[in-house]
């Protein structure tokens, strides 16, 4: 079972991915399922429209697409209401992008959404990278405040904050790394070899449509790890996070 842990559907500033194209790509690459989030605009401001779109795409996919829910935490209680509505429409996890949504991971705005995720049994994907509001270590601190919620460190800090990925994963045991963009022969191998981390703390994603999906899958299939470890990275771990 190969599960792509993060894809965005719709039109971004420089990218576009419609459900039909995603399913075609998944068929070509042998990817069984994909977790799909709305596009950049919907993550930032039009969360309801985005949640409806990914719910519709998932409903029409025969179980191949699994929807994330998004809600801008600046909307407060209305954001939680939107997550509840998205859950009722089929959403299975929360997707967060503090850069697009304009908040700091530690400013408290996200807390009500995380409480909802905890109560719903959702894991939470958080996009990380270079921006000060999206760094791996603050995410680890946030994850420690919500020990009953699993967090995926989207992009694992790519690229220069890869140096913080391992310390973040060590600091928060409920935090999971993401394989996209990370070379197996530098970053991923180091994370998997770390006795406090290991392959069972990594999830595969293509981060489509920002990447070349074949290349993202190849970085895991080319990686000389055991079949058991590969199965964990490609789908086992995120399958358990989905419950």
């Amino acid at each position: 079972m190969i599960i792509d842990a993060h894809v965005r559907l719709g039109r971004g500033r420089e990218v576009v991915l419609e459900p039909e194209a995603l399913i075609t790509s998944m068929d070509r690459l042998g990817i069984d399922k994909a977790l799909v989030a709305p596009d950049e605009r919907c993550i930032a401001v039009d969360d309801r429209e985005g949640n409806d779109r990914v719910a519709a795409a998932a409903a029409a996919s025969g179980g191949r697409l699994i929807p994330y829910a998004v809600a801008n935490p600046w909307r407060g209680a209305r954001a939680v209401d939107e997550l509840r509505r998205a859950r009722d429409a089929g959403a299975r996890a929360l997707c967060v992008d503090s850069v697009l949504q304009g908040f700091d991971l530690l400013d408290g705005l996200l807390d009500p959404l995380l409480e909802f995720a905890r109560d719903a049994g959702w894991f939470v994907y958080v996009r990380t990278g270079t921006p000060p509001s999206a760094l791996p270590l603050p995410l680890a601190s946030l994850a420690r405040r919500f020990p009953d919620v699993a967090f995926v460190m989207g992009r694992s800090g790519a690229t220069d904050f890869w140096i913080d990925a391992a310390p973040a994963l060590r600091y928060a045991g409920n935090l999971f790394g993401d394989t996209c963009y990370a070379p197996w022969d530098t970053v991923l191998a180091a994370l998997a070899a770390d006795p406090e981390i290991g392959a069972s703390r990594l999830v595969f994603s293509t981060d489509s449509p920002y990447t070349v999906p074949e290349a993202e899958l190849s970085r895991v299939t080319d990686w000389p790890i055991t079949d058991t470890e590969r199965a964990e990275v490609l789908g086992g771990v995120v399958g358990r996070l989905l419950g």
Binding site: E14, V15, G129, T130, P131, R155, A158, T159, D160, I163, Y181, P183, W184, D185, T186, A189, A190, P209, Y210, T211, V212, P213, E214, A215, S218, R219, D222
Partner: protein
Amino acid sequence: MIDFHTHTPSWRTSSWLGGVSFGADEFVGFMDVAGIERAVVLSHDGLFDPSPSTNDDLAAFVAEFPDRLLGFGTVHPRLEGAPEEVARMMGPLGLRGLKLHPWLQGFSMHEASLDPICEVLAAEGGMLLSHDGTPPYSTAGQIAALARRHPTLPVVLGHGGLHDTWREALTLVSETENLYLCICGTPPYAAREILAKAPPHKVLFGTDAGLSDRVSQDYAVARVREIEGWGITPEQKQAMLVDNPRALLDGAR
């Protein structure tokens, strides 16, 4: 193709960049597998210990394959004698340019100590390649400000803005006559956008090879292979991989 961003092993320093050691013959073997004809090889140890001996090591490495490898040494701008070392790099050592990594080496591109260094580099027909894409010391705007102070010196953004500052890199390359951009670690969608909008003669490509846990530099081979999936035209590919780096390297001497 010409790979405009590779590294020697780290022979003397232990760093988080890690990687296995390899010889020049093994590196050329990787290049053959990846289809790379020539490579710009950047100082590695020198980023942590910018002493002249690290430039000597780099020069010895590239001298084993002078038709395939071109070395870019380094200095720390605040150290006495840095301009003279640049002259030695470009003269007796036969290196072709200067690599700076401002956040790793710990200085700002606005420091006046960089000016005599850049003056020597320009006079010797060299060029500057700087790490970019990482605040607080390595943004395209900061590097472009240095480039504007030295308009006859070709300056290359070594990473095309990486994931979070590539739009800034694209803007500054378009605005700054002597600023070039190497797509290296830049995500595919950004690479495609850069190639569509940047001045066509200013875009280069690099793999960042040399940091792998394996002599075969697997991630670098994969990065070359990945280009086929970017969705760019044959003309863009030819310019980025062959024509632009060749013109820049040939024009700098």
